[in-house]
C-alpha cells in the first residue's frame, strides 16, 4: 500500500500535467487567462480538456470588478451616468444613454427632438465602432492579423468624429439628463458623410477578405451551436441571441428616442452557430449606416438640452429602462428613496448572460473553437464584472 502511494506521487511529479492529472481519465485542466491574448481582458477560463477536446469551461470572474453599482449609489443622478462609461467601454455612449433615459423617466423630463436625434446618431456610430473593433479582434482570434489593422482605420475615423464633438474618444460622457452636453461640432455632418463613404467602400472588400474566406467559414460554421431555446433560457441578448433566431432587438421591441420613426431591419440569422452570430454583427453595421444616413441630413433645429433643475431628485419608486448596446440588452434599474443619490442601482449587462452560454456551446469542441466562440460572443470583461 505504502509502495503504491509512492509510485502514484512520483508519477504525478514526473507527469507534465502536474497535479492536475485527474485519476485515470487523463483530463487536463488548463487555465486560459486571466492574462491571455484571446480573453480580451482579464477573464479566467478553467478549461477541462481531453486532448484537444473541451469537456468543460468554467469562467471565473471578478478580476476587474470595480463595484460600479455601489459607486453609483454614492453619486448624484447627474454624476453616476459617467461611471457607466467604464462598464462596456466599447459602447460607453449607449451605456450613458440607458442611464440618462432612466433618470429622465423618473424625473419626467421631455428631451428636445434635436437631442434625441443626436443621441441616436452617436449610438449608431458607437455601435459601428464597437462592431469594427469586434470584427478585427474576431479575425485575430482566428489567426488573421491584418483585419485588425484594417478595421481600426474605420474605427479611428469614428473616434475622430467623437473627439470633435464630445472631446473624448472612448469614454465620451456626452449625455446629460435632458439631452446632450454640447452642440455638435460644425464639421460633424461632413465628417460622418465622409465616413459613410469610406465604410461602404471598404466593407465589401472586408467581406471578400474575411467573410468569404473558406478557412474562415469552415472555422465558424457549425461551431458553437446555441439553439433558440438555449439562447432564451441562458438569457442571451443582442447579436448573440439574434444569431440563434431570437427576436430581441430593444430598438424594435421597446423603441426609445426616435427609433420608432426610423426604417431599419432587425438582423436575425437562424444558423445558430458562430457564423450566424458573425453575420448578424456584420449586417448590423450596414443597418447602423442606413440609420445614420436617414438622420444625418434631418437633424432638427432647436435646443440640444432640456432645461432641468440643478439638483435632480428622483421621486420615490423604482425605475427601469433598457437600451440596445452593441452587445445586447442593457437594463438600468434604479430604486429611489427620493434623495439626490440613488438608493440602489442594478445594471443588467448583456455580456454576463452571454458568457453564461459559453460552457454549453464549447462542450465537445476544440480549443480553437473556444477562441472562435468567445470572439463571436463579443465579450467585454469590464461589462461582465462591472
Amino acid at each position: 500500500m505504502q509502495n503504491q502511494t509512492d509510485i502514484l506521487s512520483t508519477a504525478q511529479k514526473v507527469s507534465p500535467f502536474g497535479g492536475d492529472l485527474e485519476g485515470a481519465s487523463g483530463d487536463m485542466i488548463i487555465n486560459i487567462g486571466p492574462q491571455h491574448p484571446s480573453t480580451h481582458g482579464v477573464l479566467q477560463l478553467v478549461v477541462t480538456l481531453n486532448g484537444e477536446t473541451i469537456k468543460k469551461v468554467e469562467p471565473h470572474l471578478g478580476f476587474i470588478h470595480r463595484s460600479i453599482e455601489k459607486m453609483c449609489e454614492s453619486l448624484t443622478y447627474r454624476q453616476f451616468i459617467y461611471v457607466t462609461s467604464r462598464m462596456d467601454y466599447l459602447s460607453s455612449h449607449i451605456n450613458n444613454h440607458g442611464c440618462a433615459l432612466c433618470v429622465e423617466k423618473g424625473m419626467q423630463i421631455e428631451v428636445p427632438e434635436r437631442a434625441k436625434v443626436i443621441r441616436v446618431l452617436m449610438d449608431e456610430l458607437t455601435r459601428i465602432a464597437s462592431h469594427e473593433l469586434w470584427w478585427g479582434a474576431m479575425a485575430m482570434d482566428l489567426g488573421a492579423f491584418t483585419p485588425f489593422f484594417l478595421s481600426f482605420r474605420e474605427r479611428e475615423t469614428i473616434t475622430d468624429i467623437m473627439e470633435d464633438t464630445c472631446g473624448a474618444r472612448l469614454t465620451m460622457n456626452y449625455i446629460v439628463p435632458g439631452g446632450v452636453m454640447a452642440e455638435l461640432h460644425p464639421d460633424f455632418q461632413k465628417k460622418v458623410k465622409a465616413f459613410i463613404k469610406l465604410f461602404r467602400e471598404k466593407a465589401d472588400q472586408y467581406n471578400e477578405l474575411v467573410t468569404g474566406n473558406i478557412i474562415f467559414q469552415s472555422r465558424m460554421k457549425n461551431v458553437g451551436v446555441l439553439s433558440k431555446e438555449d439562447a432564451i433560457s441562458y438569457g442571451c441578448t443582442g447579436p448573440t441571441a439574434r444569431g440563434s433566431g431570437v427576436n430581441c432587438d430593444i430598438r424594435k421591441l421597446y423603441p426609445y428616442e426616435v427609433y420608432d420613426k426610423l426604417k431599419f431591419d432587425e438582423v436575425i440569422e437562424t444558423g445558430c452557430d458562430s457564423f450566424s452570430r458573425y453575420l448578424v454583427r456584420v449586417k448590423e453595421m450596414y443597418q447602423s449606416i442606413s440609420i445614420i444616413e436617414q438622420l444625418i441630413d434631418n437633424i432638427p433645429e432647436g435646443d440640444f438640452q432640456a432645461k432641468t433643475k440643478a439638483v435632480l431628485k428622483l421621486p420615490k419608486g423604482e425605475f427601469y429602462t433598457r437600451v440596445e448596446t452593441a452587445r445586447g440588452e442593457l437594463g438600468v434599474y434604479i430604486v429611489s428613496e427620493g434623495a439626490t443619490t440613488p438608493y440602489r442601482i442594478k445594471f443588467r449587462s448583456p455580456g454576463f448572460s452571454n458568457l453564461s452560454a459559453l460552457n454549453h456551446m464549447a462542450k465537445g469542441g476544440k480549443i480553437g473553437d473556444l477562441v472562435a466562440m468567445m470572439g463571436t460572443l463579443d465579450l467585454v470583461i469590464p461589462d461582465i464584472d462591472r
Partner: protein, 358 residues
Amino acid sequence: MWSLGNITHSIDGWLNQTFSPALALLIEFVIVGTMAISLFAVLGLVLVFMERKVSAYMQIRVGPNRVGPKGMFQTFADTIKLLLKEGLTPTGSDKFLFNLAPVIAIISAMLLLAPIAFAKDFQMWDLNIGVLYVSAISSVAVISILMAGWSSNNKYSLLGAMRSGAQIVSYELSAGLSILAIVVLVGSLKMSDIVASQETGWWLFKGHIPALIAFVTFIIAATAETNRAPFDLAEAESELTAGFHTEYSGMRFALFFLAEYVNIFIVCAIGATLFLGGWMPFHIGQWTAFNHVMDFIPSSLWFFGKTFFLIFLIMWFRWTFPRLRIDQLLNLEWKYLLPISMFNLLLATAIAIMGWHF
C-alpha cells in the same frame, strides 16, 4: 562572364597549389562553415526585417522606421536585445532537454543549407541524394519542437508541441510526394542535375499538369512544415499564447525564431530549385536574343529572386489567412493533399515514361 563559380574555382586552385590537399580541404571546410554561419545570421536579419515590412504594408502601416535608414537596423537592435536578455529556465522543466531543444532546431536548419545550389557552381555539398537528404533532415526539426514542448513543463507548450508533431509528420508526406513528382521527371535526386534539367525551361512550365499540382501541394506543405500561418497551430497566439516556445526567453527564443526563418528560406529555396529552375535564367524556347539578355543577369540573382518571391508568397499567406483548426488541418492533409499528390505522382510517372513533357 562574371560568376561566383569562377571565384570558388580560383580559390580552390590557389589553396591546392599552396598547401597540401588535406590542409587545403580543411581550410575550405572552415571557409564554407564560416560562410554558412554568416549566411544564417544575415538571413535571419533580412527575413525578419522583410516580414515586418511586408506585414506593415499589408496592414496600412509603415513598419520599423526609426533605427537606421528606413528602419533597416531594427532587427540588429532586436538581436542585441535578445542577446542581452536573461534566458530563464522554468523550475519544473527538464533542464537538459529544455536547453538542447533550440540547439537542435538551429542545427537541423543549418544542415539543410548544405545541398542548396545558390548559384552556378556554387554549392556546399552536391551529394547524389540531395532531395532525399533535405526531406530527411527537415524531419529532425520536429524533434526539437516536441522536446521543447515536453521539457517546458507547461501545458500550452505541450499542446503546441503535440499539434506540431501531428502536423509536421503529416505534411511531410505530401511535401515528399510532390518533390518526388519532379524527381521522377528529372530522373535524379541530385540538386545539380535537377537544376541542369531545367535549362530549356522550368519544370513549372514544361512539366504539364503534374508539375503544377506538385507546386501547389509543395507550397501548402512547405507552409505547414515551417509552422507558418494558416498552419501556425503550434504557436497559435490566440489559443496557446506562444505554443511550444512559451517558456523560452532571450537567446534561446531567438534561436527558435531564427530557425523558423531559415527553414522558410530553405523550403523556398528547394521550391525554387525544383519548380522554378534554381539559378537557371528564364528562357523561352527559340528567342535567342531574349535568352541572352536573361543569361546576362547573374545566376545568384536568379536564385535569390525566385526564392524571395516564394518567401513573399508565404508571408502573404500569413498576413491574409485565418488559422485552420487542428482537425481541419489533418483532414486537409489526409483526405485531400495526400491522395491528390499520390495520384499526381502516378501522373508524373506516366508522363515521364511517355516522354510527354517538353
